[in-house]
Symmetry: C2
């Protein structure tokens, strides 16, 4: 799009990333009030903010060095009281399976935490280079993160025809391909799946843990969408709960890193860049190393406070409870309505099909593009779904993600054999989503009629 | 210090790092008000906040995606309008020597930006490993950052007897030592000096630039204390101004990275973790690479907004101007009073001497420790100044930094020949500083009398 060029649309919609505020979802009031009061404690002097907001802000300021969000936290792991809050949240969520505060490590976003772990895993050259089993499709930032940490991506294909379920036989197959190619030392899991929306069941999780144990793999589990399982059929079960409930030898031996972030469906606070990881069975020397690793630095304070609030929201009886619950419910309802609506809409279009999402904020429709487009893409030297997305943006002002970014081939992630897909974030105000879908239909139909 | 142990002091003072809020310096009201309003825009609905705060918050929210600080910024460099604000600030500061917005790169703290650049410089093994000329003393986090990026530290000694000035002959000497040891590709400069407080003059800067040009070194210049030159004798001159005013070939050829952070004396907003770098004459391919490097991720929004406010404070006539100027003046007065007072005090103690700081927030006194302590330290296998600091903390509840962390030896930074020093942050409320000094005197005199 050229600067100043005339376009047939007034507003551009960017639904290519999991960033709900960008497309107009409002933040949760309680969290913003607490953070504002921590930044500017004069707000605590009168009663313009709810009493529980003021209490919470005071509690949080008490755990900041010198009572200010402007001081560094003392350790690279973060503020001890917030580590404790997170550990309690995890313990509660997992029905009493205890989480230890010292296993919680904060960072400026999940991406940062993951990058730290990936660098620790990295090593070797050629045949001894570290490999990481990676789902296809996977979060779109992952292939570059692996590459940047000099890790070999060992792809395992998720089963689209089974709602993007993970298949154990495929893990074994993928691992066999690495003989003489690299040393696979970890497996990356996204559950609920980004971008697939698939929710793994306990049986699958147990199988994966046994597989990781027998192959001595570290489990890297991203669980950002734990708060957004849609409908009643599925339930989120955490890998750590299953692992610790499996008992010995698994519970004492399998190394697990569980990652979470402020960019959940409910919070949507991507711009704050706050994340944490819980590390289980990590070698104490490695754990100690993380604590002193200068490249990580001490994590920023406000995102830690925000994570503390996420882990300990208002309770019944608190003055903010009603509003908070209403806002959370509003997000949940919007999300499940949108996910259902968009999926039906997409499946109603010719040469497009979409697996319903069980969780998360993405749809990941398959594009059965006509030969004309595929050939044009080949001529231009781009992936067909990249061309689709570029033209959609230019002609209709909507930015969706080319699915190839979620599923690069392992050997050379510029070339790929998989079929074209698109990534659409559906956590948006319904009117915005409707506009996106309408534009998608006119673009798609125009494209098909021009090619066929 | 054991948990629960009885101690002869009630409060612990930590003056070991440049973290003024920790020891009770208050934040600047304007910045906190603006950030609070950006987080919680309901504060814009009435007139409880000053009108210029509300205007500023609206302007800043306008440049956030979707009008929310909860959205990612679009690029890994940061928000374009804030890049522009920073570039204008630099241009103004440097008397019109133009800075380009696209050369500004934000990150979650200076440390992060530096770490990114160090990783880009890193390469080679053995004799071809990249080396970085590093001052001794240097910022205490630097040796670990170099080590973590697998860079060889090539130390050059600053001249204590000349107020910690940089000496060109010493640069040449240091570089000669690296023949057959590593390939030196950059020189790190801290100006005004952390921890020395020395302010470089234009002549020195020109010499260093010529040296960098002739030896093909990248200039890595940390200029955090540019806002805190004490007294009237010295003035801060930026490396970029001198470089660009020197004309060709220098102005077009020497690669320069200038680093700045929210943890200046005036702001003291360490916990927000906001920094930026300006890159000059950087290879376009490298610049492009930084823009897509996933390990950096998109920088958090609030620290960018804070940097924008730092670069564009209230102007005469704005409703917050008076308060803002009073607060800034208060910091400046406190700092210069404390720096003078502490320096005189330290020089009044036996076996202690201190170079007066021309800028910044640290004093870095030399400790002429008695043989008894040095031998005890040797027996315990620690540096003498580490032992000094440990015992001072245990006996008097004051945490100062062992100077050895600012000046490790290059070959093996666990062993060091230099004389013991201590690092003291003097940006603290005067009463707190007085308490620190009183405790330091009683500890130091007790130590001397027990040993001699
Ligand atoms: C692999 C990966 N990286 C990064 C993110 C974004 O998280 P954050 O903004 O906390 O870095 C996600 C979110 O799901 C992710 O799955
Ligand atoms: C080398 C170095 N690293 C880090 C810092 C701290 O800055 P920040 O908190 O922005 O990372 C400084 C500040 O002077 C520094 O000189």
């Amino acid at each position: 799009v050229q600067q100043g060029e005339q376009k047939p649309f007034e507003r551009v919609y960017d639904v290519s990333s999991g960033d709900p505020h960008r497309v107009g979802m409002p933040p949760l009031t309680f969290i913003r009030q607490v953070l504002a009061a921590c930044l500017y404690p004069d707000l605590l002097k009168d009663d313009s903010l709810p009493v529980d907001v003021r209490q919470r802000a005071r509690t949080l300021l008490d755990v900041c060095e010198g009572g200010s969000v402007g001081s560094y936290s003392l350790t690279y792991s973060g503020i001890p009281l917030i580590q404790k809050t997170i550990a309690e949240f995890i313990t509660r969520r997992d029905g009493g399976v205890e989480s230890k505060p010292e296993n919680i490590i904060f960072s400026s976003g999940l991406e940062r935490a993951l990058s730290l772990v990936l660098h620790l895993l990295s090593g070797g050259e050629g045949q001894t280079r570290t490999g990481v089993l990676t789902p296809v499709p996977c979060p779109h930032t992952l292939p570059m993160q692996l590459d940047e940490a000099h890790l070999e991506q060992v792809s395992y294909q998720l089963l689209e025809e089974q709602g993007w379920a993970l298949d154990l036989a495929e893990l074994h197959r993928a691992l066999r391909t690495t003989r003489g190619r690299c040393e696979t030392r970890a497996i990356y899991i996204s559950n609920p799946g980004n971008p697939t929306g698939h929710v793994q069941d306990r049986k699958t999780i147990e199988e994966v843990i046994r597989f990781a144990a027998s192959e001595s793999l570290v489990l890297l589990v991203e669980e950002v969408f734990q708060d957004s399982v849609l409908g009643q059929e599925k339930r989120f079960v955490s890998y750590r709960k299953v692992l610790l409930e499996m008992g010995e030898p698994y519970s004492k031996r399998v190394e697990l890193v569980s990652l979470h972030s402020l960019c959940t469906a409910g919070m949507g606070e991507c711009g704050l860049r706050g994340g944490y990881m819980e590390v289980i069975n990590m070698d104490p020397a490695v754990r100690e190393f993380i604590n002193i690793l200068p490249c990580s630095g001490s994590p920023p304070i406000l995102p830690q406070l925000a994570l503390g609030v996420m882990a300990s929201p208002p309770s019944p009886g608190d003055s903010s409870y009603e509003t908070f619950m209403q806002e959370v419910l509003h997000v949940e309802r919007t999300l499940s309505h949108n996910a259902r609506r968009a999926c039906e809409f997409l499946n109603g279009l010719p040469r497009m099909s979409c697996v319903p999402a069980e969780a998360g904020i993405f749809l990941y429709p398959r594009l059965d593009l006509p030969l004309g487009i595929t050939e044009q893409a080949q001529m231009l030297g781009v992936e067909p779904d990249v061309l689709f997305c570029q033209r959609f943006l230019e002609e209709e002002g909507v930015c969706v993600g080319p699915g190839c970014e979620n599923g690069q081939d392992d050997d050379n992630f510029h070339i790929r054999s998989a079929k074209p897909t698109a990534l659409i974030c559906v956590l948006a105000p319904p009117a915005a989503l409707e506009e996106v879908l309408t534009r998608l239909r006119s673009f798609h139909l125009r494209l098909l009629s021009s090619c066929c």
